[in-house]
């Protein structure tokens, strides 16, 4: 679709703009100006680089991303600790993840991300636990290294089946100059397991994103460079690694199911439902498949450089991308895999997809959606929404980098408002102006959106549903979006006497 088309435009009020002889893009730019005019000069100058109206013709995005938050605008971002503990380390199930510092960070992120993992909680699976050094004033004054050493010993005694420990620094650690690396080295020897320090203090960087990077680097230095060994596995040309899948609501499992049905062997899955052994065995894969590029591309680049293992991005959201990704992956292997893949697509998946699309597309066709999530999901789910007839007209990322916006353009088919690091003020303005039929974003955005009468789905936690990946996941995704848009309650907002 183009900037001058007449339907499926960004606004419900498009008729008005045609009467005024404006294209959708022109209107979008006007709205953008209006939003920016609400800021003082300095903030306007900053935010101007984060807003853009793009059409399908755009070849590059002008958004300058991954920059500091403007103070006081009420950003939706989290911190490096959230990226390192909440995203990368937290889901590794057989490690003890220590939130090192005061109690809060670990408390608020306690089991809040729905990284499903098999195993008995507290026995051989520690994902849903909040393990912390609970810093007190004396620790700030005298340092926490001794405390850390002691508590790692205590943790190893209480949880003898653990296969390693991670130390996730909170803000004070970096400020008081503790040497967590020295503690890690000493305690690792003592307990004879990997102890991985991660300097992910919340003040580092500008968002969760640096936390992903730091966590990736910690894995690089303390797993791969330290030559931590995984279990022996049988060599096979079909051995692959699945990374950047955090198993939210079981996502990694519904993805794994497809890969294994294609004839591949997922010898390493991370970090959702992952183990130290699987992470170490990443180097035994013939190919690394990466789902969340933003949070784990650092590892895949490192493994490629160091071990010569190629990596490919793929997307298991929705029929179009699942089929495309399956073929892309199969092309890396021999004819057996390719044949199996084609058979699967034709005999099993296409009929399954068709059933889902037949059921839900008529109920969703023509709806417009605003999608504002972390660093990957907007572009990954735009095609899945499109498979159901839903157009994403406003989008952006909490913590993406410039290359993520470039990658997003590939998926843009209609005039789209893009915003980086959206804040509450901008969101309110956008919702008010464009009144989308559905918003997909996070918990902080959910309730204000619903109050303004717009259906909402949390697209970080799948709103306590899921999985959304794979064939099984698409059925859930479609059901949930239908449930949101066509919820009976949305027709009852206005009382009969008004």
């Amino acid at each position: 679709m183009q900037g001058s088309e007449k339907t499926g435009a960004m606004t419900k009020k498009h008729e008005v703009y045609y009467m005024a002889n404006k294209t959708v893009k022109e209107h979008g730019v006007e709205v953008m100006e209006e939003i920016l005019n609400g800021y003082n000069d300095a903030t306007k100058k900053d935010r101007k680089k984060k807003l853009e109206v793009v059409t399908a013709e755009e070849e590059k995005s002008c958004i300058v991303a991954n920059r500091k938050i403007r103070p006081g605008v009420m950003s939706m971002r989290g911190c490096a600790y959230a990226g390192a503990k909440g995203v990368v380390f937290g889901p590794i199930k057989d490690m003890i993840h220590i939130s090192h510092g005061p109690v809060g960070c670990g408390q608020y992120s306690w089991a809040a991300r729905r990284n499903f993992a098999n195993g008995i909680p507290g026995i051989d699976n520690y994902v849903t636990m909040q393990i912390t050094s609970d810093f007190q004033e004396k620790d700030i004054v005298f340092g926490g290294d001794k405390k850390l050493t002691k508590l790692i010993q205590e943790a190893d005694q209480l949880f003898p089946l653990n296969k390693g420990v991670s130390i996730l620094s909170e803000c004070p650690i970096g400020l008081i100059g503790d040497d967590i690396e020295a503690v890690a080295r000493a305690t690792a020897k003592e307990i004879d397991k990997p102890v991985i320090p991660c300097r992910c203090e919340g003040f580092r960087g500008v968002s969760q994103s640096l936390g992903h990077h730091i966590a990736n680097d910690s894995l690089r230095d303390w797993i791969y460079e330290a030559e931590v060994q995984g279990v022996e596995i049988e060599d096979s040309p079909y051995n692959i690694a699945l990374i950047g899948d955090y198993n939210i609501g079981g996502d990694a499992w519904s993805s794994r199911k497809i890969l294994e049905a294609m004839g591949l062997k997922v010898v390493s899955q991370s970090t959702g439902d992952s183990t130290v052994s699987e992470i170490a065995n990443l180097t035994k894969a013939k190919v690394v498949l990466i789902h969340c590029y933003r949070s784990m591309n650092y590892i895949s680049r490192y493994v490629e450089e160091k071990f010569g293992i190629p990596w490919v991005e793929f997307n298991f959201f929705g029929p179009t991308q699942i089929v495309k990704s399956m073929r892309k992956i199969a092309a890396l292997f021999d004819e057996t895999i390719q044949k199996k893949t084609e058979e699967l697509i034709e005999k099993e998946y296409m009929p399954a997809f068709q059933k889902i699309v037949d059921k839900y597309k008529p109920r969703l066709e023509g709806k417009q959606c605003m999608l504002f999530v972390g660093g990957l999901r907007p572009r990954h789910t735009i095609p899945a929404f499109r498979d159901l007839g839903v157009e994403v007209t406003i989008t952006g990322y909490e913590f993406a980098h410039n290359d993520d916006y470039a990658r997003t353009l590939e998926y843009v088919e209609n005039t789209t408002f893009m915003v980086d690091d959206m804040n509450e003020y901008e969101m309110e303005k956008l919702l008010e102006t464009f009144k989308p039929d559905l918003v997909g974003s996070g918990i902080k955005e959910k309730y204000s959106t619903q109050k303004s009468g717009i259906p909402f789905r949390q697209m970080h936690s799948w709103d306590y549903s899921g999985p959304y990946h794979g064939v099984d996941g698409f059925a859930v995704f479609a059901r949930d979006m239908d449930m949101a848009v066509n919820g009976a309650v949305w027709k009852k907002l206005t009382p009969p006497w008004k």
């Binding site: 103070p71 006081g72 005061p102 408390q107 005694q157 052994s277 309110e428 959106t449 109050k451």
Partner: protein, 502 residues
Amino acid sequence: MSEHTKDHVTLFDGKEYQEMFEDKKKYENVETDEKIKETLEWTKTQEYRDLNFAREELTINPLKACQPLGGLFAAIGFEETMPFVHGSQGCASYFRSHFMRHFREPFPTSCDAMTEDAAVFGGHNAMYLGLQNTYELYKPKMITMVTSCMSEVIGDDMNSFVKNAKEQGFIPNDLPVTFAHTPSFVGSHVVGYDNTMMHILQQMGQKRDHKTDRINVIMGFDTYIANFEEIKRIFKLFGAEMNLISDPSETLNSPTDGHYKMYRGGTPLDDLRDAPNSKATLLLQKYSTIKTVEFIEKEWGHPVKVVNPYGIEGSDDLMMAISELTGKPVPAELELERGQLIDAIADSYYWIHGKTCGINGDPDFAYGLSRFVTEMGAEPVHVLVTNGSKEWESDTRTMLDKSEFGKAAQLWPGKDMWHYRSLLFTEPVDFIIGNSYGKYLERDTGIALVRIGFPLQDRHHLHRYPTIGYKGGVQMLTWIVNRVLDDVDKKTMYTTSYDILR
């Protein structure tokens, strides 16, 4: 439309997935089933309990959050007030998410998003811009600032920062900006509530010569939104005027009507300013208001009463305190309500009397609940409060010793939910009362969980019911007895005891 889609609730039970999980084990380096079973059983023993209680530095599944969270809760209850975090952005986002998962309501909080440069040069520039943008974009009538541990560790001087922000024109001179130091490495969220409330009163209160006929009421870190309505109703029945200081009952219970409003209700700022001139102050929590009470007693010099308004005795204390402070008799309507609570307990207590229980949660709540269960003849065996102080322990001990049902109770201040797990395996009880995190213990031990407390993230709308006063008593009794009966049903489902009459 009727055909069910399989989601995570049932999808993974399927044979295909189960086989996949089994196959995945060969890559996981998972222990043998025997070893896992053996370890699981060991964690249930007295030996493990001893090891667990011997730990000195490790904290596992604590029941406390950090100071700024409590501070924000105090802040959100004032007229058009924007809570503000001086520190890292991540903290503000965590606080907001935590509250929103509990209340299922928007919880605005601004932040000056300090980063590494602020760690080196101080957070003043971030604060200036933060205040300016917050004021311009969200037009608050007041900004209430708390600190995260970053700004505490680098030692920012909030007083001069706020002063400079005004002098240098980032915000108007007459915009009230209160600030409190709320270091995360001291105390817990209830202390943060206290610090913030005290500083709001100190920085906003305007003492005059005249006294009003009002009673200030401060609820403490009370997340039961209906309690704010309940206390208003009780005062109305007394025919007494109150000044409810921090009242989030509108903003955290707002309608979905197509129009989101960031600010709703709250204590009018003029009433806040006038608070020192009320004739007395009544506080409904003790451990979240220690400094606040000290301040009011010293600076405002009017009578101060602190009550714990749960259960029969607690509600009696509340009524008598109001009566004493206002000079008005307890109205007949409230006496009727008292009778209704007694009536409800008389109807139900046979299912509760003699049962043992565990209670965990914030100190005031745990104190009140453990007294309430003894009023129904239940015996609290464990009362576990991660953020419980020595004072809390001695107060609770004294109170429980007065009841034949409370004498055997063991108090566990400073302990966490992993300690609790050991306690429940070695000294089991019939039911436990606490917040959502208790569900892990319910799963591990099979002991029924009654959800009362904060946060409640896995059940809906419980915070919309009152827990204080006689009506609150009936509500809590209902939750407790029906959970106990659900448990009886579950246990007797395939026996002759599966009665329709309970």
